[in-house]
Amino acid sequence: MLLLAWLVIYPIVIVGAEAAHPTALRDFLTRPGEWAALWASVWISLVSVILAAAIGIPLAFLFEWFDFPGRKTLGALIALPVVLPPLVGVIAFLFLYGESGFVARAIQALLHLQNAPWRLQGAAAILLVHAYSMYVYFYLFTRAGLAKLDVSMLEAAQALGADRRATLWRVIVPLLRPSLVGAAMLTFMTALGSFSAPYIFGGGFRVMTTQIVATKLNGDLPLAMVETVALALVAVAGLVILRRTEGDDILVALGKGIAPRPRPIQRAGVRRLATIAGWALAVLLLLPHLTLILVSLVPYGAWTTEILPPVINLDNYRRLFSEPERLRPMWNSLWMASVSTAVAVALALAGGWLVVRRRVALRRAIEALLALPWALPGTVFAIALAITFSVDAPLQLRFVLVGTAVILPLAYLVRALPLTGRGILAAYRQLDPSLEEAAASLGAGRWRTLTRVTLPQLRPGLAAGASLAFVAGLGDIVASIVLYTYETRPVSIEILSSLRLAETGVAAAFGVVLMLVSAVVLGVGARR
């Protein structure tokens, strides 16, 4: 409990206190660039929500309600953007749609153009990446909501004389509202905290996250703190507004009925169309992954102006795994993500036990502590930790951790807490207390009850939370770019420096490795 407070609340308080710095405040208020960045963050996030909803919700309805050839396979493929860590997704887009990417090259060759037909830059590029990676939230949330719908409620509406449209608007949408608001919140927060896309594609277009890091790298710490607080305030305001539209989620829990069964599409033409559209979509979704793999197979300097690469081999992977200097970031990322995940799981277990088993007065506080890092953009916490742990003042519980190997796992830990916390708290709530009583009445002591009954019951939630936390740590860039040292540099930082050296193959190879590890870990975590 105290540990949680020290990690989560304390750094924020410090930043808040030190941000009250008159010159920095004046700087922030008077520079037009600051306001522009803040506004850009807000509108980019809102448009991302709209785009993601526009793609994700219809897809969810299509896959949940209609049956057509390949529905199952496609339904699984469609969640694929999840296995791309943000930075890896962004570089895949760069290789695919960037000015020297495949698509641009192909069009250039086709039309015999002198220059690339476009430059992938600015707000449009950021939105494209956001829409691609974030529609998944709407898709998954809406499908989950639809699966919980009780078919008898739809039938009741029809029996009461409601036609299809009335059923949709008066029954389905209100029942789905909690799911939709949840997806919107998640998308909004992710977009607001998104760093990789604006960092790579932004160019002169700054959003608040990139602005903060730029200010910090310029050494203007007080201003960076003011910016951090501003971003945090926007995030909280956004959450509060969305929360208000959420309503009661008791609504959904009423019926325990059967979800509607997917209806086969009857007309052959429509069915063929749906199938073709589905597969085209799958290819579109898979292109970034495939591109990444292809680019990773092209050795350094071998590919200049051709549409397709002339040479393909495993050179980049060989370099990756033979050169200790390149292997290093891999190990760094792996151990830091593992340690932070393990600690986050332990803390979430303890917190969950306190919240559910002991009816302590602090339970709301613990829940809030576990959830808070989720509500604030990663940059906010990165800056907060950087500030808090760069001062040696043991009496204030502040130590110099920046520059040591401890700070990055600590930062990952803070980011991992909401992920493990939510999974484990939900699992604890579903736990039937009479199971533990049954174990006790059969003579099992506390330890045996915990290991043989409680933990196995919590396992699905625990595994899901832990795998998400691990993948988040593995692909993290927001905290890393603020806090890394050369010794502890993670993969994401190495990818950036490879890109800067134009070693696209190596960067892509790192990306593929991250993608594969993430996919395996998420796959294991999702297994029942």
């Binding site: 039937d432 009479s434 199971l435 009583e437």
Partner: protein
């Protein structure tokens, strides 16, 4: 009398002022005692106090002379069957039944014996969710009995089964318990279930023990109006009607008469037949007396007609 299981003035005080107990009960070795009461009467709390899941605010529980009031559930050696069975979903049937058994070479044989007892021999490898409700109930019973507990506790053991299955399961349950010979307490809100399954019945209302006794004792000699009306069908007569049926001499003038102890006659309490409910072998006649009080008479299906003016006499009354 000193029973095998002694409950002495046990009591639980909830925070909102609701109190269960003090209740004292003596249960003989091998006896089946039913705790019967309406919902919210505190019967489940009683069971949980005995199991050790709730700590008593007063009184003590002893088994074979050993005070177990402060013994935690895990060491109490009381087997329990939960209302929703609480089978471990991640373990198979055999692992569920073997959960309370120590690791020993004959563990497998003990599991098999427990399953054979409930007529589920060979079900070890089945998944819990593949079983029907009745099978789950029997697995729960086998699991509770396998470690050879001193006392068996059952919380509404049949409430999760559909009515057709309930009666058969009731008889099987009683047979298994009697074969094992274990001292048993079970909670129910159904009078029929309590009568069928219990050797004795303890009627509980609003946290207090109203009466303990064998089924016919409760039915024929209830100590108060609650027991009289909760256990079986009962007509309550007061004042003039009570005197007309021959009561009123002793007690406070309240007379309880079972419907089958009333019959149509040439004289007695006058009334008009308002309803007739045919149940096959007999019929319930709802009669309204001159004070517009209604009561039920169980008689031959053609004993009276709707709207007929009748006289009713009692063959046996309970004066309270």
């Amino acid at each position: 009398m000193s029973g095998f299981l002694q409950i002495q003035a046990i009591e639980k005080r909830w925070r909102d002022g609701v109190t269960v107990g003090p209740v004292s009960l003596d249960i003989a070795q091998g006896e089946i005692l039913a705790l019967l009461g309406p919902s919210g009467s505190g019967k489940t709390t009683m069971l949980r106090l005995l199991a050790g899941f709730e700590t008593a605010d007063g009184g003590r529980v002893a088994v074979a002379g050993e005070d177990v009031t402060a013994v935690p559930p895990a060491q109490r050696r009381f087997g329990m069957v939960f209302q929703h069975y609480a089978l471990f979903p991640h373990l198979d049937v055999g692992e569920n039944v073997g959960f309370g058994l120590p690791n020993s070479p004959d563990k497998g044989a003990k599991i098999a014996a427990a399953l054979a007892l409930v007529d589920l021999a060979g079900y070890e490898k089945r998944k819990v969710h593949e079983l029907s409700g009745g099978q789950q109930q029997r697995v729960a019973l086998a699991r509770a009995l396998a470690p050879e507990p001193r006392v068996l506790l059952l919380d509404e053991p049949l409430s999760n089964l559909d009515p057709a299955l309930r009666e058969r399961t009731r008889h099987e349950l009683r047979e298994v318990i009697k074969r094992v010979g274990i001292t048993t307490l079970f909670v129910t809100h159904e009078q029929e279930e309590a009568f069928d399954l219990g050797d004795r019945i303890a009627v509980i209302n609003q946290g207090r023990l109203e009466q303990v006794g064998a089924p016919d004792e409760l039915y024929e000699h209830p100590v108060n109006l609650f027991v009289a009306t909760f256990v079986g069908r009962a007509n309550v007569f007061r004042g003039k009607a009570a005197r007309a049926l021959g009561g009123g001499a002793n007690g406070n003038g309240v007379l309880v008469v079972r419907p089958e102890r009333l019959r149509f006659a040439g004289a007695g309490l006058p009334g008009v037949v308002r309803e007739r409910r045919y149940i096959g072998a007999a019929a319930f006649f709802v009669v309204e007396d001159d004070e517009h009080e209604r009561f039920e008479v169980l008689a031959e299906p053609d004993a009276a007609k709707l709207g007929e003016r009748v006289y009713v006499e009692a063959t046996r009354v309970i004066a309270l």
